[in-house]
């Protein structure tokens, strides 16, 4: 249907544009109004700036790593301390990416902005706690910078004992930073669980929630349940360094493998903290840009929860070669395979959603397609690693590096970018250049594959990870990988440029630029600071039948036919529409 076919006589619903005093970006001015804001949207934006800064820093470190590996004996760092430099760079790359970027990227930055708006609430349940978790993130980041300034960090982001208890770099500063970031993560998760449980407006039943909210809910469960264990582990590690408590350090009768159990009990679920929100984002992106109802809503929703719970049972697969008993090892391998099922379900559901849809190849859709492609590779190569016999060969080689980069970068980063491009008009009220955005998506896709596909081969040929120098037979593949990194970097810069340019030169964004049916598209772009004047009428988040393209104004509008009756659930008397 085109513009002409908007049914006439029906009520066209479009919130129009916000005034400057309504717009959450401009309703109060001055740096302090941002620094002490309790508005979840502003906190989300501050998070966004923070995580992107962290990503930029860690990305530069990644570039250094790859450039160094251009030559077998190391191309960037030279001299007697070259290997130490390399070790510090890869450690900080990993630590910053994991703790400061990937974990807070979608849940904290985009989640903060989106959860209340998608839910139809005015704010998260605990706005002060929300602001404090942002400042905890900042403190955590300061500790990391402090570690960098003091004497660096060379333990790898995993802080394995006894290396971390004997090295003379600033392990205590960095682990304190990670400890603080853990609390930031716990508070965010706790806030979202409470918000989703208690702040839903009338009519927003559990199964009318957008899948992004389901994914956020599952993520929050992991954040609340797993992060405290990381907290105590890091605390014990600090105590081990300061007082030699002898729990992890074999020199004082401790057991280093116990540390690995403790650490991965958090850090494996943390992988799902990183990828689950990405699943939520992609579910929404695919459905909105295919203008078709999501296929198998309940399967996707339940599989998120299943992944969250199963994710707690598989930490042992990081330690297949560490010396666990054979029986334990085999059980962990079996459990590991079970996690792959819910992930596979989602991929099939997304494809089925695209089937016979009305697809617009917008920038977010390009990222979503790239995500499915890359995540499928990342997921399937996980099978090689979950299988015990092949893991004996592939463990701690570049195969593992490639596998988790396909999941973390090809999965989480690409979906983060897709989400950013999808909700950018809503967040800042500006449209970006579609051509530029699609170009960025294509370059990132190609650059990424060029970087990490060769690493699978490197790994199966036996190239161990975390090597500052390597044997000459691996050189060609390393060089291809490095060239890919440069391309990937260019793609990311293009994406950044497109987004920043839109802030200056972008057209004003309509309330609903993509034709989404979830609640955030029912308020203006950018949303007013109070989100919704009154609790919004909640419909099916994936019902696109009432949404039409208005060619004249280049926007989607919701046409509310007269037959539409009151929401299914009778609103509570306290905020019934009649009182207004």
């Amino acid at each position: 249907m085109s513009a002409g076919s908007i049914p006439s006589g029906d009520q066209i619903k479009d919130p129009g544009y916000p005034t400057a005093s309504e717009n959450y970006l401009t309703n109060s001015k001055g740096a302090l109004s941002w620094l002490f804001t309790l508005d979840h949207k502003r906190i989300g934006v501050m998070y966004l700036i923070g995580v992107m800064t962290a990503f930029f820093a860690a990305g530069l470190l990644a570039l250094l790593i790859r450039l160094h590996l251009f030559r077998p004996d190391g191309a960037v760092f030279t001299g007697p301390e070259a290997n130490n430099w390399y070790n510090q760079v890869f450690t900080l790359h990993g630590a910053i990416m994991v703790f400061l970027f990937i974990i807070p990227s979608i849940p904290a930055a985009l989640g903060n902005f989106l959860v209340p708006v998608m839910l139809g609430a005015k704010d998260v349940a605990f706005p002060r706690l929300n602001l404090s978790s942002f400042y905890l993130w900042v403190f955590g980041a300061i500790f990391f910078v402090g570690a960098l300034m003091a004497s660096g960090l060379d333990t790898g982001w995993t802080f394995y004992t006894p290396y971390s208890t004997t090295t003379d770099t600033s392990v205590i500063l960095a682990t304190s930073g990670a400890f603080i970031l853990g609390f930031s993560s716990i508070f965010t998760g706790l806030n979202f669980i409470v918000t989703i449980n208690t702040m839903r407006p009338p009519g927003m039943t559990w199964f009318r929630m957008p899948l992004f909210l389901w994914a956020t809910y599952a993520t929050s469960i992991i954040q609340v349940l797993a992060t405290p264990v990381l907290g105590i582990t890091l605390l014990l590690l600090i105590a081990e360094r300061v007082m030699h408590i002898g729990i992890f350090d074999p020199e004082f009768n401790g057991d280093p493998v116990t540390f690995q159990h403790f650490f991965w009990f958090y850090s494996h679920p943390a992988v799902y903290i990183m990828i689950l929100p990405a699943f939520g984002v992609i579910s929404d992106l695919i459905s909105v840009h295919s203008h078709k109802r999501i296929f198998g809503y309940r399967f996707i929703a339940y599989s998120s929860i299943a992944i969250a719970l199963l994710g707690f049972l598989v930490w042992g697969h990081h330690m297949f070669t560490a010396g666990m008993g054979p029986m334990t090892t085999i059980i962990f391998s079996a459990l590991t395979f079970t996690v792959s099922v819910p992930s596979a379900i989602k991929v099939f559901n997304w494809l089925a959603t695209m089937y016979k849809g009305s697809i617009s190849l917008t920038t977010p859709m390009c990222f979503a397609i790239a995500f499915i492609f890359l995540f499928t590779i990342g997921g399937l190569t996980g099978l090689h690693l979950g299988t015990l016999a092949t893991d004996m060969h592939l463990h701690d080689t570049y195969f593992v590096v490639a596998h988790f980069h396909y999941v973390m970068v090809g999965g989480t980063l690409v979906s983060f970018l897709g989400a950013l491009f999808h909700w950018w008009p809503k967040m800042f009220g500006k449209m970006y250049s579609e051509t530029g955005g699609r170009l960025a998506a294509v370059i990132i896709f190609l650059g990424f594959n060029l970087t990490f596909l060769p690493q699978f081969v490197l790994g199966s040929r036996g190239m161990p990870r975390r090597y500052a120098t390597y044997d000459p037979e691996f050189q060609t593949l390393h060089q291809i990988s490095t060239i890919g990194t440069l391309l990937l970097g260019v793609g990311l810069l293009v994406a950044l440029f497109v987004l920043l340019r839109s802030l200056v030169k972008g057209e004003r964004a309509p309330a609903n630029p993509w034709g989404g049916a979830t609640l955030e598209w029912q308020c203006t772009s950018p949303p007013p600071f109070y989100n919704f004047e009154r609790p919004p009428a909640v419909g099916d988040p994936y019902d696109f039948s009432d949404i039409f393209w208005d060619t004249e104004n280049e926007r989607y509008v919701t046409v509310e036919p007269d037959r539409k009756i009151a929401p299914a659930e009778q609103p509570e008397p306290a905020h019934a529409e009649g009182t207004h």
Binding site: N27, S28, G30, L32, S33, F36, T37, L38, D39, A121, K122, D123, V124, A125, F126, P127, L129, I186, L190, N191, I193, V194, T195, N197, T198, M199, V224, L225, A226, T227, P228, V229, G231, I232, T233, L235, L236, A239, M243, H244, I245, G246, I247, F252, N253, G254, D255, T258, F262, F529, Y530, E533, R534, A574, H575, T579, H580
Partner: protein, 378 residues
């Protein structure tokens, strides 16, 4: 913050929302019930994270107890069951007063609420006082985490030790001095609100030294007879009055009394140590012993850095983190106390008291597990 909130308030007015938002209801909630439920769910989730936080240490305890049962048995002899028991009693009592405080806030008994919160605070302080005695004695003996461990069965009380008890007490003395000064100033200026706040806080701060006294008496005990216990109680009361008197006098006197007290503590420790030494099966290598035998007995001795150190590491980690939770709880209780004096709570809005109450019960509950695990199971 203020600008946003002001703007938010304006908006509500402008958009004519006619919910009557009482002052205690945050703008983003619709009803007090919603606010209370959110808070309640939030605090329960937080308690879950707390349990998981401690569970890491309980796991470490379980693993090492399984690996080295003999070490745990031998070392737990060095923990004074009496002090642990009295602390358990104090915490249980504080849970009662806390629950009572929640009840008071629900039925708008403001005076009762202040009294109950003050009682809870005092119990917390007594707990810390007793803990200070336990810690300082172990530090002096060198019963420390593996890396710092220097306990020597032949010479359990090295001469030139630091007076750890003094350093632990110092911040509390400053605290006590501070609240007393506050009380005096507010009495002088006849500021009723401040007097009402400072009075219970002074009592609570003084209770730390009650705990110190209690700890010393029990530490020096070794008394099986009821008569002795009676005497101990009497001494406690004396201590209590003494501590309160000390409040008004200067800090130097406090110091003096502490010094004499710690001497008796050390003497008693010596006798306790000898008993414990026998239990721990420690054999000092005698001259003329069979040499191979000596090596074996050295191996079997659990009171070595590598073995006992791990027990004391776990002991300090668990009780230390628990003590930090008590300190945090004290902070929250003080905040509640001030708000209670301000009469902030009413039957519609008593959430904060309820939440802190739940937190306090959890801290209590964790101690209920720590006490038998560390002190009793032998």
């Amino acid at each position: 913050m203020s600008t946003i909130e002001a703007a938010a308030e304006n908006a509500h007015d402008a958009h004519g929302h006619d919910h009557d938002h009482p002052s205690f209801l945050a703008h983003h909630f619709d009803t007090p019930e919603q606010q209370f439920d959110s808070g309640k769910l939030g605090i329960w989730l937080f308690l879950v994270t707390e349990i998981l936080f401690f569970s890491g240490m309980f796991c470490a305890y379980a693993i090492f107890r399984m690996l080295r049962p003999d070490v745990f048995e031998g070392c737990s002899q060095f923990l004074n069951t009496k002090l642990g028991a009295i602390n358990t009693g104090v915490l249980l009592f504080s849970s009662l007063t806390m629950a009572w405080a929640v009840r008071c806030s629900q039925v708008k008994q403001d005076r009762g609420l202040v009294a109950m919160l003050a009682a809870t605070l005092s119990c917390a302080m007594i707990f810390l006082g007793v803990k200070a005695i336990e810690y300082s004695h172990k530090w002096e003996m060198g019963l420390l985490p593996a890396g710092l461990y220097f306990y020597d069965p032949a010479n359990p009380h090295p001469e030139s030790h630091t007076n750890y008890l003094f350093y632990i007490c110092l911040p509390f003395m400053i605290l006590l001095g501070g609240v007393v000064a506050w009380l005096v100033v507010s009495l002088a200026t006849r500021n009723k609100f401040h007097v009402q706040c400072a009075m219970p806080l002074t009592v609570a701060a003084a209770c730390f030294f009650v705990g110190i006294g209690l700890g010393m008496v029990l530490e020096s005990g070794g008394s099986e007879h009821a008569a002795d216990e009676y005497q101990a109680h009497a001494t406690t009361e004396l201590e209590q009055t003494a501590a309160i008197q000390l409040v008004s006098s200067g800090e130097s006197e406090v110091l003096e009394s502490l010094a004499t007290e710690s001497n008796t503590g050390i003497q008693s420790e010596l006798s306790a140590r000898q008993r414990q030494l026998e239990n721990a099966g420690t054999a000092i290598v005698q001259e003329g012993d069979e040499i191979a035998g000596a090596i074996v007995s050295v191996e079997e001795n659990v009171m070595t850095q590598r073995k006992a150190g791990v027990f004391f590491s776990i002991y300090y980690c668990m009780t230390g983190v628990h003590a930090i939770h008590i300190l945090v709880g004290i902070g929250f209780l003080v905040w509640l106390l001030v708000r209670a004096v301000r009469q902030d709570f009413n039957p519609q809005y008593f959430g904060p008291v309820d939440y802190v109450g739940l937190y306090w019960h959890l801290v209590d509950l964790i101690w209920i597990y720590l006490f038998p695990l560390l002190y009793l199971i032998r």
